[in-house]
Symmetry: C2
Subunit: 313 residues, 2 copies
């Protein structure tokens, strides 16, 4: 097979989420890291999805994936029930409580890469068992960019395996509390620097309504969150952020120089802002690149200032 430098491969979960927020409730909505990531990244580049769903997974979600151009040749459909998660968010939506986790078919998930997937230019290892992440990573043929997500559970229970994956990734996306847990550093700046020493050249700390803070080879980059006033459901914000970022980077040929990386992060933040304005994947469905670019421009407008102004008065 020929290489596909502009393609993005995601390995993660497909789920049916029951989510309650102060804005309402959705039962068995389409969710999972691969769903949010894929529907975001496909705005920019071809996306291949490796995940698993059960026999109960609604045909309408499969056709939704296809209609949006996702290559779901790696989405295994197996006997049993689809992964289900149920949770409720706090009044300010900064915290959430898990009411129920049914791993179902996700428990026995073993990623298999269809022909050609190993040649994808960009790889996103969404939040799954680090042993599986490493396995996928080892089967890839020299991807240009490898990005990684994880969660507290794996940091605590499979630390050694996670560290092996970390050694080999370019971009690591994490939140404040995970960064602290991984490094034992209370100061998030020191934590991000400590994680860079573990392998990834770029560490992106996701901070929800406060935006993102990235530690790159060049230093710090801070990006505000897009000012969303009608927050409905924060589920999937992180994965769609990653989808906008990786999609943009794949679309621009896998360049990870500082300037392109920064703009990619702004695309990630812009895409995530649409996701949290709707339940489930609703915010991604009729989303145009032009609408994303408009929010990227707003993020630029709201963060720029001119340090040379003082001398010119």
């Amino acid at each position: 097979m020929s290489r596909s430098p502009h393609s993005v491969l995601v390995v993660g979960s497909v789920a049916l989420d029951t989510v309650t927020t102060p804005a309402g409730t959705v039962d068995d909505g389409l969710g999972g890291s691969a769903s949010f990531f894929g529907l975001a990244a496909v705005k920019y580049a071809p996306v291949r999805m490796v995940a698993v769903a059960g026999a109960d997974f609604p045909e309408e979600h499969l056709s939704l994936f296809r209609r949006h151009g996702l290559d779901i040749g790696g989405l295994q459909l197996v006997e049993g029930r689809t992964f289900r998660w149920a949770g409720v968010y706090s009044q300010d939506m900064n915290e959430r409580e898990t009411l129920r986790t049914e791993l179902n078919v996700f428990e026995g998930f073993h990623p298999e890469l269809p022909d050609g997937y190993a040649q994808s230019g960009c790889l996103f290892l969404a939040n799954i068992d680090p042993t599986l992440q490493l396995e996928v990573l080892e089967s890839m043929q020299a991807p240009k960019i490898v990005a990684l997500d994880t969660m507290n559970y794996w940091i605590s229970s499979k630390r050694d395996e996670l560290l092996k994956v970390l050694e080999r990734v370019d971009l690591f996306l994490i939140n404040d509390s995970e960064a602290r847990l991984l490094t034992g550093q209370e100061n998030v700046l020191r934590a991000a620097e400590g994680i860079r020493m573990m392998g990834p050249s770029t560490v992106v700390v996701k901070r929800g309504e406060y935006g993102a803070l990235a530690r790159t080879e060049n230093g710090w980059f801070s990006l505000p969150a897009y000012p969303v006033e009608g927050l409905k459901d924060p589920t999937g914000a992180g994965d769609s952020f990653a989808g906008g970022l990786l999609g943009y980077l794949a679309h621009t040929g896998g360049r990870v120089d500082e300037a392109n990386l920064r703009l990619g992060l702004a695309h990630g933040a812009a895409v995530a802002s649409f996701v949290v304005e709707e339940f489930s994947v609703g915010g991604l469905l009729d989303l145009s690149r032009a609408a994303i670019q408009e929010r990227v421009r707003t993020l630029w407008e709201m963060s720029r200032f001119d340090p040379t102004l003082e001398g010119t008065r």
Copy 2:
């Protein structure tokens, strides 16, 4: 008296603080809103201070104020003990517990403006009783900029008086929880917009390690915090932020157009970053304008990106 457009008048507190943080303890260190604000703003412009201290206030602090060029003609020295505050910060320094508050001479504080003070171009009404803030404001002669700070206590106990002051100020500095309390809005963006309807053309929400978010006539401006890795004592960060901001605005002739305001906020953030690196006012004592400017430049460097890059590849 002639007008002094480049002078800044601060009305606030002078205190002796006993502070414990994970980095150590200081007993009876120089503190209070007028001290932090004044020592910050005086880097940029002449500063007049109106406050009160007791007979026990150390002569060395008075000479420190004078040595740094502060006009302390409005600092009343009266019988009794100086305002004292004692507090302890949490491990991550995002929260603090007040152990002791002794108002002492501050309880009977009545601001008096020496000759010429009423002609100051900029006024900072630090966190004191809104009744006193209004009284000072009414005695001013057409200041170019009036900025205001307050706290939860006044929002709850003197709401009507505070609203009267708010109607007449240009800049209001507040933190997330105060903005929510004042407006009843859970969403901080809506809260900031709601506060603008109460009077101030600019509302600055201070977010500690996450920086600041300002709502201006033009829209949103988001500024990261300077990445401080050796945080020692957050006390005074907000007042020195205000001091850097107002000092910069006074120094540049009281211009509050969007561009100058943004750069002023960056100066505020830069000055505050030095303050939290030392106990008490230590971070302000040997601080040069050049050192502040270097951090302003770093804040610029860490927040800039180019939204037009995508089209040029």
